[in-house]
Symmetry: C5
Subunit: 90 residues, 5 copies
């Protein structure tokens, strides 16, 4: 899975029916890439999130028939090391 910051949501003038009704978000990856993901959670611009790719992305969107290769799976709060030092995001 990869880590990204949410930039905003896409406005589409034409879209395939199979995309369903979940919002589609633009993400800035920590690798420098700009990606698009389905969002079943309801994330906001500025949120740090992680995404799941490929076949598991369809399950993550809640229906294996949905057309997606990248889905938001969680909002990141920070991380901890063995020393119990909590770091607030990245």
């Amino acid at each position: 899975m990869e880590i990204h910051q949410v930039r905003g949501h896409l406005t589409l003038t034409s879209r395939l029916d199979g995309l369903g009704h979940l919002p589609v978000k633009v993400l800035d990856s920590i690798s420098g890439a700009t990606l698009v993901a389905m969002d079943p959670i309801g994330v906001k611009p500025g949120d740090w999130v992680f995404t799941i790719a490929n076949s598991a992305a369809r399950s993550a969107a809640g229906d294996d028939r949905l057309l997606t290769d990248l889905t938001v799976a969680g909002i990141i709060d920070g991380w901890q090391t063995d020393k119990d030092e909590s770091t607030n995001i990245l």
Copy 2:
């Protein structure tokens, strides 16, 4: 999913039958890559689009037997942030 601008369509002198009859387009990705995708929507050179990769690309093309790993899934108009500022494309 990834964001690209449409460059044009491919002319092929030899192609596998399993590609079906959808047009095949050349895309310039915002990551700098040049890619080829099936187009079930009918996009035009200059359009900004997003694509779906891998197994969902076959469903997106309308028939899971079609040979594709990248399919155009929508035309992008712009995006909005929480502040309701709409940005016209990228």
Copy 3:
């Protein structure tokens, strides 16, 4: 799908049976990568081709049991823009 120029075919001293009897070609990708693909079409060194990756690559090779993650799917002649200007390759 990605665009490549054919460099030549591989000579192998040991190979898995599941590779079948299709030729295996070395390709120079326009992204700069050197890749190996199955060739069900019979492409020649210098040809510009496009390839299909992952699960669709197995179908493209003609038998879903074949061991491949990249298969040549067509020979590229050029492309056209909306203005009907045809460009001869890349």
Copy 4:
């Protein structure tokens, strides 16, 4: 599969149910990337590990319904060459 060093575990404020109860770890890849993986082994910060991606990642997590595209599969101790020289990690 790819090689990474474990940085720590993620704290999430919102997560999909399908992620199950395995810990989710942040990894520094030797390629320079920062990735997130499910951890069925119980690795510690500083451990060198290798991961399995995509569909096999779900099986590696112990249940094909789990939502993951990257799972820790083993802890690396070092490697040996033909000359029986053992190298302690990377």
Copy 5:
């Protein structure tokens, strides 16, 4: 598929059962990446090999239940162009 040179085999202190009993090798890719692959052929350090990724990697390992996303599929001897000039490796 991609081309790599074999560096050595991995020694693991902890591994998932689903990895089975095939050796796990460290490969230096011609793209510059360092990767890990299952080896059903028995390749040696210094050998040039090509690998198969993702779902076909599991079949290539001999059992679709094995946990792998990259499997060695053949040892490369060299390649030929149309002019019948044989080049000894890369």
